[in-house]
């Protein structure tokens, strides 16, 4: 990996180096070009300067023609032709010079041509001037003057051309100077920069390459140390081909061998390097190793195999890898002797474990049998610790079957669950603290704890012993023991209380107690027993015989009989007898007793109660009952008399009245008819009175055989019974849905009949009767205080009519027997109907009252227990 990176980076720098060289070449060529250009520029400037000089020569040349000396010279005869010839030559040289200098400059050349012609003209004029002077003296001055002006004119033209040439050259000069200037300034800077950059690249590349080299060195050292320190044998072999056969490997040459050869095989690497494999490792010939090397080399593939080698009588195991590498194979052998040995050891260990496991299972079964057979509950909890390492809960690791009958839990189901889930109570009843203390103090803890299930209390005694980071709890049910000890405790308490109150109780209950030692006939009587006999406590030595003296003479026979029964058969029966006190009063005693074993002796203990008052009261009660029976019988016979015997004659009267009316009616006198009518009415009225009285007396308040009644059906029946009067009076009855109650059907029918027929009977004269029956539930608080409530909720049924009503002050009076608010003749009432209603309602533990307003209507409100 590291090598690769380095390799990768050196390639990068190689590229950088090539670029740097390229840049350097580029820089050099650039520098050359720049210098060439500078030379050119300098050349151009020099050319321009030469042109200037040539132009200067020209100026000097033509200026000569203008000067006086020249002219004089010219005028100097003799010499004059010579002078002019020289002058002309000079001019030609100047022009030629100028022409060659401006060879490649088109505008200048254009100037040169006219210049040439102008100079030629000048020469001509000068020649003329010369000639004039020679021929004529007379007019020499004027002619000369004219000639001179002509020359001046030509000179002027030459001068102007020269000026133009100068201008042109100046312009060129300026241009070339600028070009030169720019070349002069940019070129060195560019060159410098490029050179610096190339240098930088060289430095950096060199530095990197140097670093790489260092790393390669390090890697090599690392590899060397790896090879030296590895516990694998690493050798490199190169094949030696059989010279006889083509491509057949006869042997391998050991090219490299690491230090491990020495450690495992006792071979010095330096010594074996250069030797052949078969010389050094002869064992590879016969264990197939050599074939593997050959195969790896020929087929260029990795081969690995295990071989056992015996070195100096010691068995060694190697795991060998053969990898083709370059022109040979890399041989790596890992010493796997330890692994193989470990494998063997592990196998042995496993076997031992299995054996141990079997033994453990046996032990476990034994333990389980123990847990099953013992009556203790055995549990083991592992601590569950919170952040601050304090125990916050337990995990149930083991519970034996004994838990099932107690808590209903099945051991396998609660195993590995948290105690807080299964037995949350232990956090409340202090058990958790016991368990924690057993673990933290490493000291067994004993505690007792109640367990509540289905309302039963069970007590358990437990021992908690620390085991590992947990606790083993052994618990046993001690409910029975606890109960017994509690009972004993309570008994003791009760006894002491009893003893203290017994004496008082005896007095209040008029009882005495005795202990009778039958064998010795010695009795112990309680203090109150003595008092009951009219004696001071312990006034006499008590015994059966002594006590017998108190017994009433008439009861002695029975007393003796009982005494005999007791001594003979140890049989006691409760019995009552009379005694006569010391003062001579007769008292009734009720006695009972039982035999108990006391100090190995049979004694009789018992209680005697003074029942004189009860006996007297009973006698009175019997008498009363007889009286009551008698009066009941009388009442019954009265009922019979009233219902039958009294009605019989009445009915006869009515019958015969009707008979007389039928037969003799038409023979009555006026008065007779009126009297007869009165008789008939009186009889009718008497009959209805008797009927109502009977109904009233028939409401037997002692009869309480209530049954479930649907009042709606009762109302239907009553309406059916009253159909005639309802239809006759066009009575409208509107009733709510009524409840079902417990009661006596015919009484309820009577009640409804009376109330409805009252409403119809006492109807107002101007409107047909309308009765509303309203039902609702009412709390007991609506009833007056003096009524004994038998229910929290009452059915409230109101009969509201639109009849004649009554004065509110009569509201209670109307319920009394024979209380009539109206004249007999007005309304045909007997005055018993509402009394019957009240009696029926009271008989049903209810309450009835009336509200009314004269001329508006009446309201009868019934409350019946719901």
């Amino acid at each position: 990996m590291d090598f690769k990176r380095i390799y990768m980076s050196s390639k990068t720098y190689l590229v950088a180096l090539i670029i740097a060289i390229g840049l350097l070449l580029f820089t050099t060529s650039m520098a050359y070009r720049q210098i060439i250009r500078m030379q050119e520029s300098a050349e151009m400037v020099a050319q321009t300067l030469r042109v200037y000089n040539a132009i200067g020569d020209l100026t000097t040349h033509y200026s000569k023609a203008d000067s006086e000396e020249f002219r004089k010279e010219l005028l100097n005869k003799g010499a004059s032709s010579n002078t002019l010839e020289n002058y002309k030559l000079e001019g030609t040289t100047v022009i030629n010079n100028l022409e060659s200098l401006t060879g490649n400059n088109e505008p200048q050349r254009a100037h040169i041509k006219p210049l040439k012609s102008l100079l030629n003209k000048l020469y001509g004029q000068l020649t003329e001037l010369d000639s004039i002077s020679y021929t004529t003296n007379k007019l020499p001055f004027d002619i000369r003057k004219t000639q001179k002006s002509k020359i001046n004119n030509t000179l002027y033209n030459i001068r102007s051309i020269k000026n133009r040439m100068l201008d042109q050259e100046e312009y060129l000069m300026e241009e070339r100077e600028a070009s030169y200037k720019s070349d002069k300034s940019t070129t060195p800077i560019t060159l410098l920069l490029l050179a610096f950059f190339a240098l930088l690249v060289f430095i950096v590349s060199f530095y990197r390459i140097y670093l790489n080299k260092l790393k390669v060195h390090e890697s090599e050292a690392f590899l060397q140390s790896v090879l030296d320190t590895t516990d694998n044998i690493v050798n490199y072999f190169e094949p030696i081909f059989d010279p006889d056969k083509d491509k057949h490997i006869a042997d391998f040459k050991i090219v490299f061998a690491n230090l491990c050869n020495r450690d495992y095989l006792g071979l010095e690497p330096d010594e074996i390097m250069g030797k052949t494999v078969l010389d050094i490792f002869p064992f590879f010939t016969n264990n197939g190793g050599f074939e593997e090397f050959t195969k790896s080399y020929n087929e260029k593939e990795k081969v690995d195999f295990d071989r056992e080698v015996v070195i100096d009588g010691e068995k060694m195991w190697f795991h060998i890898f053969v990898t083709p590498l370059l022109e040979g194979v890399l041989f790596t052998a890992r010493n796997s002797t330890a692994e193989e040995k470990a494998k063997e050891a592990q196998f042995l260990f496993k076997k031992r474990l299995e054996k141990q496991n079997l033994e453990l299972l046996d032990n476990k079964a034994l333990l389980n049998n123990i847990f099953k057979s013992i009556s203790h509950i055995v549990m083991h909890f592992k601590s569950i610790r919170g952040k601050d390492d304090a125990i916050i809960d337990f995990e149930i690791l083991f519970v034996n079957d004994r838990i099932s009958p107690i808590s209903g839990d099945i051991p396998d189901e609660i195993k590995n669950k948290k105690v807080s889930e299964i037995f949350p109570n232990i956090f409340k009843n202090g058990v958790f603290e016991h368990l924690v203390s057993a673990i933290e103090n490493e000291d067994p803890v004993n505690y007792e704890v109640p367990y509540y299930k289905n309302g039963f209390e069970q007590w358990f005694k437990a021992t908690a012993i620390k085991l590992g980071d947990g606790v083993t709890i052994t618990t046993i049910d001690i409910t029975e023991d606890k109960k017994k000890s509690n009972q004993l405790k309570q008994l003791n308490e009760a006894l002491s209380i009893q003893n203290t109150i017994f004496a008082d109780a005896e007095v209040i209950a008029k009882t005495g107690s005795y202990v009778w030692h039958i064998d010795t006939d010695v009795s112990e009587l309680s203090d109150n027993f003595f008092r009951m006999l009219g004696c001071e406590p312990h006034e006499f030595e008590a015994s059966f015989k002594r006590y017998r003296d108190f017994v009433h003479p008439d009861d002695l026979e029975l007393y003796d009989y009982r005494g005999a029964q007791i001594t003979k058969y140890e049989k006691v029966e409760e019995h009552t007898y009379r005694i006569i006190t010391k003062q001579g009063d007769t008292k009734h005693f009720k006695s009972n007793g039982q035999f108990i074993e006391k100090n190995g002796e049979t004694v009789m203990i018992g209680v005697v109660q003074d029942v004189t008052d009860i006996v007297e009261a009973e006698k009175k009660l019997v008498k009363r009952n007889l009286e009551l029976k008698r009066s009941n019988a009388e009442l019954e016979s009265f009922n019979r008399v009233a219902s039958h015997d009294l009605q019989e004659p009445l009915r006869k009267i009515q019958l015969f009245v009707s008979r007389i009316e039928d037969r003799e009616g038409d023979q009555f006198s006026e008065k007779g008819r009126v009297y007869f009518d009165k008789v008939r009415k009186a009889v009718t009225r008497m009959q209805s009175l008797i009927t109502n009285l009977l109904a009233y007396s028939r409401i037997d308040s002692t009869k309480k055989d209530f049954e479930r009644i649907n009042l709606n059906l009762v109302l239907d029946k009553v309406k059916e019974d009253l159909t005639n009067s309802i239809n006759e009076t066009n009575t409208i009855i509107i009733a709510d849905k009524l409840p079902k109650i417990k009661g006596i059907v015919f009484q309820m029918e009577q009640l409804f009949t009376n109330l409805l027929s009252n409403a119809i009977k006492y109807k107002s004269t101007d409107a047909p009767p309308k009765v509303k029956i309203v039902y609702e539930k009412a709390p007991e608080s609506e009833l007056p205080k003096h009524i004994i409530k038998v229910s929290k909720v009452y059915h409230k049924i109101s009969f509201i009519d639109n009849g004649i009503g009554f004065e509110p002050i009569h509201a209670t009076k109307i319920f009394e027997v024979f209380q009539r608010l109206h004249q007999k003749t007005e309304y045909s009432g007997t005055g018993i109907g509402l009394a019957i209603c009240e009696k029926i309602v009271e008989n049903h533990n209810g309450y009835i009252y009336a509200k009314g307003e004269l001329g508006v209507g009446a309201e009868f409100i019934i409350y019946l227990p719901a």
Binding site: L713, D716, K717, E720, T723
Partner: protein, 186 residues
């Protein structure tokens, strides 16, 4: 140990079967027209008629010789049929009877009153109440259903007539019949 068995009768079938048995025994050719009418297809000999009459008398069956008595029976039968038949129950009694018996209603009415101490109308009411009683005792029909079957306009109408005729309200009657059944079972 005693076992009580309870029976329900179909009088029509019962009576017809009974008559058939007796007529067959005497080898008489006949056709039964209705429960109380048989056509004899031959001249009935005196002695045969006497045997038959005596045999039937033991079971409270009388052979009517009186023309009017026969007519009364036919009227009663027609009323029965009308009351039991869904289709005819809405018809007017007088029209139904005269149509079925081919006599004027006035005639039928007078013959009936003459022979039974009661009118056709009263008899019909009694018969209806009797049917109502039977429905109450032998079926699970409600009073509303019974009232509808017997062509009463309402339960109240039925109850009213029932009370008027029997002196008992339907519920009181049912109550007594139920108690009577329980009482007899004891």
């Amino acid at each position: 140990m005693e076992v009580k068995l309870f029976f329900k009768y179909d009088f029509d079938t019962l009576c017809k079967a009974f008559i058939k048995e007796h007529l067959d025994a005497l080898d008489i050719s006949y056709a039964i027209n209705s429960i109380n009418e048989v056509t004899i297809n031959e001249n009935l000999q005196k002695d045969k008629q006497k045997t038959l009459s005596e045999a039937l008398k033991k079971y409270g069956i009388e052979i009517l010789t009186d023309q009017k008595a026969t007519l009364v029976e036919r009227i009663k039968h027609a009323i029965d049929k009308m009351l039991k038949d869904e289709k005819s129950k809405n018809l007017k009694l007088s029209a139904y009877l005269s149509d079925n018996l081919n006599y004027s209603y006035t005639y039928l009415s007078s013959v009936f009153s003459e022979n039974t101490y009661t009118s056709i109308e009263n008899y019909t009411i009694l018969r209806k109440v009797d049917l109502a009683k039977e429905f109450m005792c032998n079926t699970d029909l409600t009073l509303t259903e019974i009232a509808y079957r017997l062509n009463y306009s309402s339960v109240a109408h039925l109850s009213g007539q029932f009370k008027k005729v029997t002196g008992l309200t339907p519920s009181a009657f049912q109550n007594i019949m139920k108690k009577k059944k329980d009482y007899n079972l004891q």
